[in-house]
Symmetry: C2
Subunit: 337 residues, 2 copies
């Protein structure tokens, strides 16, 4: 019996489960005393509305340039809270482990979760671990659910885009998806594209206080990329959008890999970028605020809401033409997060 | 392309993901309007402490006598909140689906989640769906995270067992584990043992209001069974326990299957039972309250806290002997929830 590997018995709920929890998982994730292990965490209810979100992470490979499934899971849930204008408070961690997964890799993943949580100022307060037999899962899947508090009265929602709004992206697009794809396919690129995985809550705090009610929509363009996310917003708000291709910030390495793989950066996942809709008079202020933050250094205005409508998006291409943008169809990039 | 099966593209975040959400998942789970799909749910903060919990479900088989992975996931998270004395309010649902999983079975599972949530009075308010390639997961895994509110000032905790306390179980033990094992192994038993999967929050409400500060510990004996759960409590509270084997309520069919499979009912999982520690003077009242509720009809006093100590549990056997009870060791019953 190899002591370095996860065993089925680690998921039994019995002695081995407790050992794994006490010796590896709890020390890695939190300052929880073993004595505080109850069925749920008890938390002081904040004043203000709560935001509540969940995401499961099944990314392949588990480790990729710029991060791993652990910090990705923390940042993803922090960002889902931040996109509601909420301050992230507490997080749960649900692990599904495949029998035979390396404890060393698990420890590394948990350590990066803890670092990411500390950096974002969110506390990991409760969790769960299951183990399934070899071949019944792919190494490790992680669910993170998060609770945040909304400390302002603004309406920030995908249904709140308004005619005339400017559309702003906080930086270069497609970095995460290309980093994962290139790593999965073992592409030799000469240069390494790194995932942009990052917690955006500090940037959102600055935007909320700087823009106030001029801030209408926040959304992070993850699976499906900027195109799919904008299409969701257009449909939710009942508006039409126009984008300018030459305004879209894309790293040249990402462009290169996209052309090798036949991908459009507009559809490639991001994990540390946000899309913002704001009244046009505050657009340049929004870009300024973003550029002052390292996470928004490449921010750009990429288009606008042309009016009420059925959710159409037209892209003015670099060549001077125009094409319609739809949601991602098919399975372009499975297991990207 | 078979329209009845889950495809990888259903996890892309794009058009197929939206179809699956709009046509199957959201209508099945909730009254959420598609327009309300944001990154997180917005909720009014209740007054009182919050309870927050998470659990992933990987049970095999997915359907078993008395339930399926869906109602199991809802009841399990409701019960984790209830065991803190909390009133369950909101729940998230994270689905990890294997490519090729049947949409019909998914719909059936989601419908039973909705029914279980309605029955327990908890609202499913947010969710996430991922799809992994065939062979990278086993049909369906579900994470449910839950938020509840604690509307009383009692200290109910695994660390709160006190010398002299009576230990009470709310009904027969081992039903869930045996139902799943028998179904997995295809055992022909002549009789069917059904899972006890049920939401215990109504029973807990009655116990909290009926027992007040005499109620010290609540815990549901799931993975690892009554033995492992009692050992956890004994260690957390720093007390020793004594159990009487002839007081343990066990269905004769469960006893039968246990002897065929070489299992001890004390270590077999339950999903609709609770263990309660209460001051001895209120023990008979606790049993009375339980017996008035259909979920507590077979309630019994099974032992007591003998004093401060290192967490030892001694079992007085039916034959008049005594043996020590430890946590489940090894992998007796993997994927039982």
């Amino acid at each position: 019996m190899n002591n370095d590997l996860i065993l089925l018995g680690h998921g039994s709920g019995g002695r081995l489960s407790h050992q794994l929890l006490d010796e590896l998982i709890i020390p890695a994730l939190s300052g929880l005393e073993p004595v505080a292990q109850n069925d749920a965490a008890l938390l002081d209810s904040p004043s203000g509305r709560l935001a509540f979100t969940t995401d499961s992470y099944v990314v392949d490979p588990v480790f990729f340039p710029g991060g791993n499934i652990g910090d990705l899971a923390v940042n993803g849930t922090v960002n889902d809270l931040a996109m509601m204008g909420a301050k992230p408070l507490w997080m749960s961690v649900g692990l599904i482990l495949e029998e035979g997964f390396s404890k060393k890799e698990l420890a590394e993943i948990l350590a990066s979760m803890r670092r990411a949580a500390d950096l974002a100022g969110i506390r990991i307060v409760t969790g769960d671990t299951k183990v399934v037999p070899r071949g019944k899962a792919d190494r490790i899947f992680i669910n993170t659910s998060g609770i945040g508090v909304v400390e302002h009265d603004l309406v920030i929602s995908g249904a709140n885009a308004r005619p005339g709004d400017s559309i702003i992206v906080s930086g270069t697009i497609g970095d995460h998806g290309i980093a994962v794809m290139a790593s999965r396919e073992g592409l030799e690129l000469g240069t390494t594209v790194k995932s942009d995985s990052a917690a955006l809550n500090s940037l959102v705090t600055e935007l909320v206080s700087g823009l106030g009610s001029c801030l209408h929509v926040l959304r992070d363009p993850t699976r499906g990329g900027v195109a799919t996310t904008l299409k969701e917003i257009a449909l939710q708000s009942g508006v039409d959008l126009r984008l300018r291709e030459d305004s879209l910030p894309v790293k040249s390495a990402v462009k290169g890999v996209c052309s090798i793989l036949g991908l459009d950066p507009l559809y490639v996942a991001n994990e540390g970028k946000l899309l913002l809709f704001a009244a046009s008079e505050s657009a340049s202020r929004a870009v300024e605020i973003m550029k002052r933050n390292p996470l928004g250094i490449d921010a750009a205005i990429i288009g606008e809401v042309t009016g009420k409508g059925g959710g159409r998006i037209s892209l003015e291409t670099c060549s001077g033409g125009s094409r319609s943008v739809e949601m991602l169809s098919g399975e372009q990039l499975p297991r990207i997060c």
